[in-house]
Amino acid sequence: MKQWILGLFPIVLLAGFVALFFIYGPLGVFMAAFPPVEELTIERVVLPEPDQIVLHVINGGPDPVTVAQITVDEAFWKYTTDPENKTIPRLGRMRISIPYPWVEGDTHEVMILTSTGLTFSKEIAVAIQSPRTDGTYFGTFALLGIYAGVIPVFLGLLWYPFLRELGSKWLSFFLSLTIGLLAFLAVDMLDEALETAEAVPSAFQGIALVGIGVLGAVLILFYLSDLKLGSSDQTGAEGRHWTALMIASGIGLHNLGEGLAIGASYALGEIALGTFLVVGFMLHNITEGLAIVTPVAKDQPSISRLVTLGLIAGVPTVLGTWIGGFSYSAIWATLFLAIGVGAILQVIYQLLVLFTRKGETVFTNAYNVSGFFLGLGIMYGTGLLVV
C-alpha cells in the first residue's frame, strides 16, 4: 500500500504544478491578443437525398470551436446542427444538415465559417447520392466485397492440389513467392496507412496510431503464437497451421482495408469511373489464396479448415465495403490498416522460421530468390490495374 502511495506521489505533484502553471504561469503573457487555435475536420460528406447535404464534423484542435455559418459553392446557406449547440468541444463531433440542391456529377465545395471567421472547407469531387443503409445497398456492397475479396481468395486456395504434388524445391519457391507477396502487401499497406493518417484530425495523432497499430499487432501476435505453440516445435505441423491462420488473418485485415477503399470510393462517387477497380482487386487478390495455402501444402488440411482460412481472409473485404460505404472514419481506417501491416510483418517472420527448419533462407538458392522477386513482381504488376 505504502509503495503505491510512493508511486503516485510524483503524479500528484505534477497535477499541482500544472494547476499552478495555468493560474500563475507565463502563459498569460502570450494569451492576450491571440484568437483561439481552431481545427475542424469535415470527416465525411453525405448526400442522402437530392436536396440535402450532411457534413460529419470533428473538432481535432485544442480549443472548442463554434460553427457560425455554412457556405456551399460560395453562397451562404441555411443549416441545422445535431447536437443543437453549435459549439463543438475538443474531440467532439457534430452533424450539419444543409438543404442544398446539389447537381449530380458536378463538383461542389462546402465551407464552415467559425465564430472567429476561420474557414474549413471540403470538396465533393463528384456529387452522387450517398448509399442508404437499406437492403439494396447492403447487398450491392456485399457483392462488391465478395467479388473483390472472397472469390479471388478461394480461387487462390484451389492451387492447393497443385502445390501438394510439388517437390521440395518448388515448394520453397512458392513459399518465397508468398514472402514476396506479403512483403509487397506490407509496404503497400503501410503507405496507405500513412496516407490515411494525414486525414486524421491532429489531436488523434495519425502517425502515432500507425506506430501503435503496427507494433501492437506484431507484439500481440508473437505473444499469441507463443501461447498457442508454447515450447513445441514451431516449425512442425501445428506451427505451419498456425502460420497459415496468421497469414489468413493478416490478409483479412489487408482486405478489410481494400474493402474500406472500395466502399469509401463508391460513396464518393469515384467507383462510377468503372468496374476496373474491382477487376484489378480480383487479379491482385488471387495470389493471397496461394499465400495462405502454401505453408500447409504438405499437411493435407481438411476442406473445412481451408474454407475457414478462406473466410478469415476474404470476408473482411465485405465488412470493409460496408464500413467504408456507410460510415467511413479516417481514424479507424488508419488503425485497421496499421494492424494489418503488423500482422503481415509477423507472418513474414513466421515463414522465415519455417525456412530455417530446412536449413534454408529466402536467399539460399536461385529458386527461392526468383520466387521472392516474382512475388513482388506479381503484386506490382497486378497493382498497376488497381490505381
Partner: protein, 331 residues
C-alpha cells in the same frame, strides 16, 4: 412535381427531419419573412442565407440606414455655420453575420463610421483622437488644404488631430483612414459616409445610406462575407419598409476592399443616378449600377407596386455571400 417532393419528404422521415426540427427550435426572433423556417425547400429563395440572428443591440443596420450625424452646430461671427464632431478610433469586435465576429478597427465603435452630413459652405471641425492600437488618420474626399488631407498627419495611438475645412463641393463623399498599409486599415472597418448637401436642398424624400462592404475573416486577401452596412443578409432578414409612390433616395457608397467592383440592382424598378451626387440633374436612368472602390452615387426611385422586391449586388457571388436584401413596399 409537388407530389414528388411530398413523397420524398415522406421517405426521408426519420433522421434528417428530426435534426431539422431540433435546429429550428432554438432560433431567435420572428423575422418578417420566415427565413428560419426549418422546413424550407432547397430551392426556396430564402434558404440561401445565413442562419440565426446577430445581436442588434450592438449595431443595427436598420437604424444605421437612417442615421445622419449633423454634428454640433453653431454660428461663426461672420454668419457661417460651424459643425463640430468628435471621432474616436477604437478597436472593436463586431458581428458581421450571425455568430461571426470580426476584430475590426472602427470610427466611434461602429462599421461603417457615423454618416457625417453638412451643407455646402459650412465650416467643418473634426476632432479626431486615436484610442486604437495602430496609427490612424481620417482622409476626407472633397476640397481641402493639403495639411488636412489625412495622409501625412499620422495620428499615433493616444494622440489627437483636428481637421478643419470648408464643405465643398456638394455631393456624396466618403471618409476613410489613409494609414499604411492601406488595404488593412480600410478593410478592418475605418470608413464612413460624408454627405455635403447642396445649398438649395434636394426634394423631400425617404433617405437612406447603404455602404457596400465586405470582410476577409480568415485574412487570405479575399472576402468571406459581403453586405451593405456590414451585416450579411441583414435586410434579407429585416426588409426595408417603404411606401408606394414615395420618393426614395439612396446614398450608395462602395467601400469594398479586395474586389475590383461592386454593384446594386433593384428588382421591379428603375432609378435616377446622380453620379457622386455633384449635380442636381440625373446622369442615368437604369436598374443596375456598377461602382469601383471609393465610388458613390445618389439614386432616386419610386416603387409603383406594393409587395416584396429584392435588391442585391449583380455579381451573384457577392449576393450569395450576403449582399442581398428586400424592400417591403406598402400602399
Amino acid at each position: 412535381m409537388k407530389n414528388k417532393k411530398l413523397s420524398r419528404r415522406k421517405i426521408l422521415g426519420g433522421a434528417v427531419g428530426v435534426t431539422a426540427l431540433a435546429g429550428g427550435r432554438g432560433l431567435l426572433g420572428a423575422p418578417i419573412l420566415a427565413t428560419d423556417d426549418p422546413d424550407l425547400e432547397a430551392h426556396d429563395a430564402r434558404v440561401m442565407s445565413t442562419t440565426g440572428e446577430v445581436d442588434l443591440s450592438q449595431f443595427d443596420p436598420s437604424k444605421f440606414l437612417y442615421e445622419f450625424d449633423y454634428g454640433q452646430v453653431s454660428e461663426l461671427p461672420d454668419g457661417q455655420t460651424l459643425r463640430e464632431w468628435d471621432i474616436v478610433a477604437v478597436d472593436k469586435e463586431i458581428e458581421i453575420a450571425p455568430g461571426v465576429y470580426f476584430p475590426a478597427w472602427t470610427y466611434n465603435g461602429q462599421v461603417p463610421g457615423p454618416t457625417l452630413r453638412c451643407t455646402e459652405g459650412d465650416r467643418l471641425r473634426i476632432r479626431f483622437s486615436n484610442a486604437g492600437s495602430h496609427p490612424h488618420t481620417i482622409h476626407f474626399h472633397g476640397f481641402h488644404p493639403a495639411n488636412m488631407d489625412g495622409v501625412f498627419e499620422v495620428v499615433k495611438p493616444g494622440d489627437e488631430f483636428v481637421y478643419e475645412f470648408e464643405a465643398e463641393p456638394f455631393g456624396l463623399h466618403l471618409y476613410h483612414c489613409h494609414s499604411v498599409p492601406l488595404k488593412r486599415h480600410i478593410h478592418k472597418g475605418l470608413y464612413g459616409t460624408f454627405i455635403v448637401d447642396p445649398p438649395e436642398k434636394r426634394p423631400e424624400a425617404r433617405e437612406m445610406v447603404m455602404v457596400m462592404n465586405g470582410f476577409d475573416t480568415n485574412f487570405d486577401g479575399d472576402n468571406e462575407v459581403y453586405g451593405a452596412n456590414s451585416v450579411a443578409f441583414h435586410y434579407h432578414r429585416h426588409p426595408i419598409t417603404v411606401k408606394a409612390q414615395e420618393l426614395v433616395r439612396i446614398y450608395l457608397v462602395n467601400a469594398l476592399e479586395f474586389d475590383l467592383l461592386n454593384s446594386l440592382h433593384i428588382h421591379g424598378n428603375f432609378f435616377e443616378v446622380y453620379r457622386t451626387g455633384t449635380r442636381l440633374t440625373p446622369d442615368d436612368f437604369t436598374d443596375t449600377i456598377m461602382l469601383c472602390q471609393g465610388e458613390r452615387h445618389i439614386l432616386e426611385l419610386k416603387f409603383r407596386h406594393p409587395g416584396t422586391f429584392m435588391f442585391h449586388a449583380h455579381q451573384s457571388e457577392f449576393a450569395e455571400l450576403g449582399w442581398m436584401g428586400f424592400f417591403e413596399v406598402e400602399l
